[in-house]
């Protein structure tokens, strides 16, 4: 699946609402892709495609909330902006609890929606960059030898070469060579950089596949 330009995916069973949203996105030069149902969207969308999802919360068949659940289950990171009616507040609250990016109430001000869409697109870009960065870091980590990995694990806890050498029953000279390899393979200039990288990776957890 090829990566496309960031796209605003619109899922709404109402033709008028769906198609007017597409034109609104076009009017601010955002590519938009409308779908009449959750199923149609699921069939067409692949997780690598960046953008955001503007989703009607109330639809026959698979509802907006159910689609969100399904996307979560599939590990799709696309930020979701829900469009709700005024009677749907409890559903909107549930959607936010399930990790929705934001919601707008119908009828909405165009600028409000556009602002939220822009923010959602920025968030998506950040998330994807971070994920890419993580997978790069993971690849680098994978390239370390078991001994180098042991050295790295001790270094990031703040231990000096001498202590690492004692812990691993190695000569300080050997530790220094391993350390140089680690810094080179991980493409960092300082131990501080290395620490931030590893902490960040652990903090973000496991990225989704797909």
């Amino acid at each position: 699946m090829k990566e496309t330009a960031p796209t605003v995916y619109i899922v709404d069973d109402d033709h008028g609402v769906r198609s007017s949203l597409r034109v609104l996105m076009k009017s601010v030069n955002l590519p938009a892709s409308p779908f009449a149902s959750a199923q149609e969207f699921l069939a067409a969308y692949h997780a690598v495609q960046p953008g955001c999802l503007v989703l009607d919360i109330r639809m026959p068949g698979m509802s907006g909330l159910e689609l969100q659940e399904e996307l979560n289950r599939r590990g799709v990171v696309l930020p979701v902006i829900f469009i709700t009616g005024h009677a749907d507040v409890p559903m909107a609250v549930e959607a936010m609890r399930q990790g929705a990016f934001d919601f707008v109430q119908k009828p909405f001000r165009d600028q409000d929606l556009i602002d939220r869409v822009q923010k959602a697109l920025a968030r998506d870009q950040n998330t994807r960059q971070a994920l890419k960065e993580h997978s790069r870091i993971r690849a680098r980590l994978a390239s370390l030898t078991p001994r180098e990995r042991e050295v790295l694990d001790l270094l990031v806890t703040g231990k000096a070469n001498k202590v690492v050498a004692q812990d691993l029953s190695l000569s300080q000279r050997t530790v220094e060579i391993h350390r140089a390899h680690v810094m080179e393979k991980m493409a960092v200039q300082s131990v501080a950089q290395l620490v931030r990288m590893i902490m960040d990776l652990e903090h973000r957890g496991t990225p989704p596949t797909g």
């Binding site: 007017s20 034109v23 026959p60 009616g85 005024h86």
Partner: protein, 377 residues
């Protein structure tokens, strides 16, 4: 004079009887012998009896006739004291001076009785008609109130349904503004958006039109109707309700159905009642699986069927027996009138309403209505 059918009585200027024919004898029970020379007032009940001489004097004095040449309905008094209604015409004997008068008396008892009988029958018929009209009026009021209640229950769905086109219109309009702000505006997109704005406004108007039809308190009006058309017409509101209940609503309408003689609004009310029941029956199911189908088919040569099916849990035996009983409801906020009124409406269409279980689960309510004869659609 003796051959005359009417009673004929001649009197002189003093009111004395000078002739009394056979019919008069039969009518009053006197023989002419008995009456000749006596005052005619003996044949009249009070107060005319004592007034009659006065009438004669006044005529002699003033020459102004009150009864002469006009005739009027009076009462006659028989010898045996009984009274009878009579039509009396009086004339002055031409050239008589002092004047003599001739009176023709016709017994109108039979006519009067016939009239009274007719009047009584008419009164009774009117009373029945009034009662029937009142009952019909009450029934129509009840149907109207029930429709209003249904509309009330559907308010959320209707509000949502109106919100959709309004929301689309607002969005299209803003998008058009933005498109036109660009240095090189996309006029094709702008034009098609403007067209859509018009369409969406019509759609909103359509919803309001349907609402007004249903809430209008119009009297029952039966006309030859295409059932499918009637269903498609109401499906806008039914769809609105279905959407709020997160349920798929499908129409499965048979082609070439014969037409029926129907009150459109009333049958639409039946349909809405059935759809609302189906929607509520489905609330226990997950949203993705809920489905209601409105179906028409030809049940027999001269019978059209309209049905509403759901894939819900179906009807329990306990409730199935009392479905059409007024005020029996399984709903928290139900009036228990929906099906009872639906049945009244269907019966007024010479039709029947019933239900059957669906396989593997669910209920189907169907209405049979006779097709219009001599019209092969």
């Amino acid at each position: 004079m003796e051959a005359a059918v009417d009673a004929v009585i001649l009197i002189d200027h003093g009111g004395r009887v000078t002739a009394f024919n056979r019919s008069a004898e039969r009518l009053f029970g006197y023989s002419s012998q008995e009456l000749l020379g006596r005052n005619v007032s003996i044949l009249m009940p009070a107060p005319h009896r004592s007034e009659h001489n006065g009438y004669l004097e006044r005529y002699a004095r003033t020459g102004v006739a009150h009864i002469i040449g006009v005739g009027r309905e009076v009462e006659g008094l028989r010898q045996d004291g009984t009274r009878f209604p009579a039509f009396l015409s009086v004339g002055q004997v031409p050239g008589s001076d002092p004047p003599r008068f001739v009176g023709f008396v016709r017994d109108v008892t039979t006519e009067r009785q016939a009239l009274a009988t007719i009047q009584a029958a008419r009164d009774r018929a009117e009373a029945h008609q009034n009662e029937a009209q009142q009952a019909r009026h009450l029934q129509e009021r009840l149907m109207h109130v029930s429709r209003m209640a249904t509309m009330g229950e559907m308010a959320a769905g209707i509000a949502h349904e109106l919100n959709q086109p309004l929301s689309a219109i607002a969005t299209y309009a803003r998008a058009c503004e933005r498109l036109l702000e660009s240095a090189d505006p996309d006029l094709t997109e702008t034009r098609s958006s403007l067209h859509e704005i018009g369409e969406e406004a019509l759609r909103a108007g359509d919803i309001i039109r349907h609402l007004r039809q249903l809430v209008g308190g119009q009297a029952s009006e039966h006309m030859v109707t295409d059932l499918n058309e009637l269903i498609e017409d109401i499906s806008v509101l039914a769809q609105a309700d279905a959407r709020v209940h997160a349920t798929q609503l499908e129409l499965d309408l048979a082609e070439g159905l014969p037409r029926v003689n129907a009150d459109r609004v009333q049958l639409q009310q039946v349909l809405l009642n059935l759809v609302r029941n189906a929607l509520e029956a489905l609330q226990e199911l997950p949203a993705a699986g809920r489905k209601v189908t409105i179906c028409t088919t030809r049940a027999a040569d001269d019978l059209v069927e309209m049905s509403v099916s759901d894939n819900g849990p179906g009807l329990s035996h306990a409730i199935a027996d009392r479905l059409f009983t007024p005020f029996v409801t399984t709903k928290v906020a139900g009036t228990g009138l929906g099906l009872a009124i639906s049945r009244t409406i269907v019966h007024a269409h010479d039709g029947k309403i019933a239900h059957r279980a669906r396989s593997p689960s669910g209920a189907c309510f169907f209405v049979h209505i006779p097709a219009v004869k001599d019209e092969d659609a």
